[in-house]
């Protein structure tokens, strides 16, 4: 919920600052207004006093009421300026100091200079001010609480469509061919998001299907000319009038067509694996499968006088059965092809790995490059450099790791996987 936290934080800080500034300004403005109100009253009193003096040439009576006092003090030589100040005066009744506002001005009566002071109590205004501030503070607290609740619950709910879309995207799988199930929302932005996401995934799905169809079509397209060529060769060799020279050429053509065919098949296989068209996983009894493959190869190995030793333990894994077939086939095929008469092949299978070791005339292979496409250590026409690439691709698609190392004059290919499967 990070966005929510960030938003809340910004929100709260801004709200605090604004509220702080506004409440401080509020305080001073209200105080100002209230004081101006008092000052107005003071000026009225001042005017009354001046009027009285003007009319009677004597001072009016001083007064000492709870909320208002009027005093006259002889001022002698110093004529004080007119001023308005805040003062604290002792209240007899309350026996404590209370806040007053005082307007003092010079008056002359009976040829005597006085300083007249009118005092108005600020107690009520102070009380009023305090009340206003308390109410304001309460409002602030309630507002904050409400904001907090809204942030936590309502916003969380508002964002739900977004999180729904996110989780739908996470489980989106091209192979499933299922459309995204996006909940409708009344919020414009989320509707826009959903519509864009839907469009994009539909487009991706369509392109994937097109690509998949293309892969299948390409296979068809290329196989047919190859099939035609091969069929014509099959017919051509029936001709009894073929010379020895011609037959050699024909054999070369046959072989070339075979290479082309194998190359095409391998490339198509690689494309399909990359395209995740072998996504289905099955439970494979590796031991059984390896034994079957070994039986297939046995005849060939005997003819080549290979020394074959196998250590096979029980091993069950989850992988695509077609890919498993191709993987073991390619591994054994490599061990056979890159070997010499009377050489050795060692096969070891456990719950965690499958390892094929073979002797060879070829020296140490480049560990980094060997799994790349078309890398061939020697310009041998017998392999097209794709066998190991296919092995690597299959491993990538099946959650396995393929490694190679050279040890004691032998090549070792190891396939490892996590056995919790």
């Amino acid at each position: 919920m990070k966005l929510l936290n960030k938003y809340s934080r910004v929100h709260v800080i801004t709200a605090c600052i604004v509220l702080l500034i506004s409440s401080v300004s509020y305080y001073f403005i209200i105080q100002n207004i209230l004081l101006k109100q008092i000052d107005k009253d003071l000026k009225v009193e001042e005017q009354e006093i001046l009027d009285y003096i003007h009319a009677n040439n004597s001072l009016p009576q001083a007064s000492d009421y709870r909320h208002q006092q009027i005093r006259f003090v002889k001022s002698g030589e110093n004529i004080q300026d007119r001023e308005i100040t805040n003062t604290m005066e002792f209240d007899e009744r309350e026996k404590e100091y209370e806040p007053f506002r005082r307007l003092s001005f010079p008056v002359t009566a009976n040829n005597q200079h006085y300083t007249a002071s009118v005092y108005k109590s600020r107690v009520e205004t102070e009380d009023l001010l305090r009340l206003i501030m308390i109410v304001t503070a309460l409002i602030f607290i309630i507002l904050s609480a409400v904001m907090f609740i809204i942030n936590r619950f309502v916003l969380g709910k508002l964002w739900q469509p977004f999180f729904n879309t996110l989780s739908e995207l996470r489980t989106f799988n091209l192979q499933n061919k299922k459309r995204l199930n996006l909940t409708k929302s009344t919020i414009d932005e989320f509707e826009e998001l959903n519509s864009s996401v839907s469009q994009m995934t539909d487009k991706i799905s369509n392109e994937y299907e097109t690509l998949k169809a293309f892969t299948d079509n390409a296979s068809h397209e290329i196989q047919t000319p190859i099939a035609i060529i091969q069929s014509k060769l099959d017919l051509l060799i029936q001709d009894e009038a073929i010379t020895e020279k011609q037959s050699k050429i024909l054999q070369a053509v046959y072989d070339a067509i075979q290479r082309l065919n194998r190359l095409n098949t391998s490339l198509l296989l690689l494309a399909k694996i990359e395209n995740k068209q072998y996504a289905a996983f099955h439970k494979i009894n590796l031991k059984k499968k390896t034994e079957e493959k070994i039986a297939d190869f046995n005849e060939l190995w005997q003819a080549n006088k290979f020394e074959v030793s196998c250590t096979l333990k029980d091993s069950i894994i989850l992988m695509n059965y077609e890919l498993a077939d191709i993987l073991i086939n390619n591994l054994l095929s490599n061990a056979t092809k890159h070997n010499y008469n009377g050489g050795k092949i060692l096969i070891s299978l456990t719950e965690y790995h499958l390892m094929i070791t073979n002797t060879s005339n070829e020296p140490l292979l480049n560990e980094e490059k060997i799994f790349q496409r078309f890398y061939k250590p020697s310009q041998s026409k017998e392999n097209n450099g794709l066998g190991l690439s296919i092995i690597k691709q299959i491993c990538d698609a099946s959650d396995m790791i393929a490694t190679y190392y050279f040890n004691e004059e032998k090549h070792n290919f190891k396939i490892q996987w996590n056995s919790n499967r």
Partner: protein, 225 residues
Amino acid sequence: MKILIIEDEKELCKSIVSYLREESYVCETASDYHTAISKISLYDYDCILLDITLPDGNGLHLLKHLKEDGKIDGVLIISAKNSVDDRVEGLKLGADDYLTKPFHMSELSARIAAIIRRKNFEGNIIIRLNEITIDTNARIAFYDETPLDLTKKEYQLLLYFITNKERVISKNAIAEHLWGDEMDMADNYDFIYTHIKNLRKKLLEKGSNDYLKSVYGMGYKFTGK
């Protein structure tokens, strides 16, 4: 035996017809959906070769049509390699067997012969060529009533040759027949030579004529001449 070849690639079709006619099959062809439909409805064939990669998905439509008409017996489908879905669909609909492109003519011939055997005689057929007899059900070959002690591969080889008698078969075709193209060992021609040598020896031992002739190092021919 009458064969219908439903294939839209003219050259491929021509090759197939040419090869099969030499084997004394009567061949008819159709290169599109409608011609195929009309021929199927007019005649009964011993074997139908159907390329399910016909354009517009017509291959599978034809297959379904054949199934509905009850003529699904003896259908050999030709599919493109790696198009597992089509192949699986075809076999599910009841096709007898399948071949992926590209295939050797001799392989096609062997498959057709097998289908016809299964269809007409429920697989219980004895193939005879002069003194050689093959019991395809028991998978035993005899020379003059004496059983030949052949390995599995040698038996397959003999059957393959006899089905394609008098035809030159390339080494590639033999290798693919015996080990399929998965093995990728087809380049190992010495291996093939060994098998053929052994087969020839076993036949000659029983007093047979030397039927197995090698053709200029390109292939072999099983011939009575």
